[in-house]
Amino acid sequence: MRISYPTSVKIIKVPCTGRVDIIHILKAFEGGADGIYLVGCLEGDCHYLTGNIRAKKRVKYLKTLLDESGIGGQRVSMYNVSSAEGLRFAEIAKEFTERIKSLGPNPFKLNKIKSTRDSGRGGI
């Protein structure tokens, strides 16, 4: 199909979105990610029955944790796309990238770089 999507999107493969834990996403933000979205199978089509439903619940809870942390819950999302929907996958990549661009960089990353530069110590 040769459909392109933004190069800023890095794909991490997992067997099922149900494998993704809250700590994986928090660590990604600590690692400097500006936004993270999960792309799972369509609801009702999970090979492991309920993996994508569980991921959806986790993302909802994670949004509250990110709001508390000052990162902002809007930097994380969950989408459901079937493997036959390449076009939709690319649309989501563009849509999410636009949203994150409008939010600006991850504030943790920005301040971490500044504090490391200013104090000369790793800190946090």
């Binding site: 834990d21 504030p107 500044k114 504090s115």
Partner: protein
């Protein structure tokens, strides 16, 4: 087991505000099972604190550790060489663990990261409900295995009260009336005679009303 809830994040952050080097300390027992203070929750909370403090440009070191039990002296010993190096320890154990840690290491500032709520069961994944208040004088043999102290909002012994309606308690339509449940079981077992006996007022001196409690087994002491 003991059930707890994580304290509101803002409350935790304001408790930690004066301190730079922090240890978030988990407990592998009850609070792990009720998903509030085990290694996983330690990692999540420590990450949240790091994210927030960096965003707010507060210099900080946040460390993570989880030990087997914070309510047992032998497991607290493994912290003896390291715990002095932190400005504060945020314990995700129940109130017993927080206090016992502080008793063992009197020079260390131990702060509670959770609100200890009740003794209960895991009804299903993600739902914990209260079953016991530790009143010190169990009556379950007389109430068909359903505790009127805990599960009746009024803790009455000759129920139900007038607030019971269609098997539900007046405090909340989702709360079953404990006495309705007890009577249903009496009926099922053909033991309504037992229900008809009037129970005299309970002696609460074995409960919290009698002050802090202790249990001792001299034969076990070393």
């Amino acid at each position: 087991m003991i059930i707890a809830d994580r304290k509101p994040f803002d409350e935790i952050m304001s408790m930690l505000a004066p301190y730079r080097d922090i240890l978030v300390l988990g407990c592998n027992e009850c609070v792990t099972v009720c998903a509030v203070g085990g290694a996983k929750e330690v990692a999540i909370l420590a990450s949240q604190i790091r994210l927030r403090r960096t965003k707010d440009r507060i210099s900080s070191e946040v460390h993570e550790k989880t030990i087997e039990r914070q309510c047992d002296i032998e497991y607290l010993e493994e912290l003896k060489d390291t715990i002095g190096g932190y400005d504060a320890v945020l314990s995700l154990a129940c109130g017993c663990g927080v206090q016992f840690l502080g008793e063992r290491y009197t020079d260390v500032l131990v702060l509670p990261g959770v609100n200890t709520t009740f003794m209960g069961v895991t009804e299903r994944h993600g739902l914990w409900t209260e079953r016991c208040q530790g009143c010190g004088n169990c009556v379950l043999h007389r109430t068909m295995g359903i505790c009127p102290v805990t599960r009746c909002a009024k803790s009455i012994f000759n129920g139900p009260c007038g607030g019971s309606s269609e098997g539900r308690c007046e405090i909340d339509k989702d709360t079953p009336c404990a006495w309705h449940l007890i009577i249903e079981r009496y009926k099922k077992k053909g033991m309504m005679d037992m229900y008809m006996e009037i129970v005299s007022p309970k002696d609460w001196s074995t409960a919290r009303d009698g002050g802090p409690r202790k249990r001792q087994r001299e034969d076990m002491e070393i």
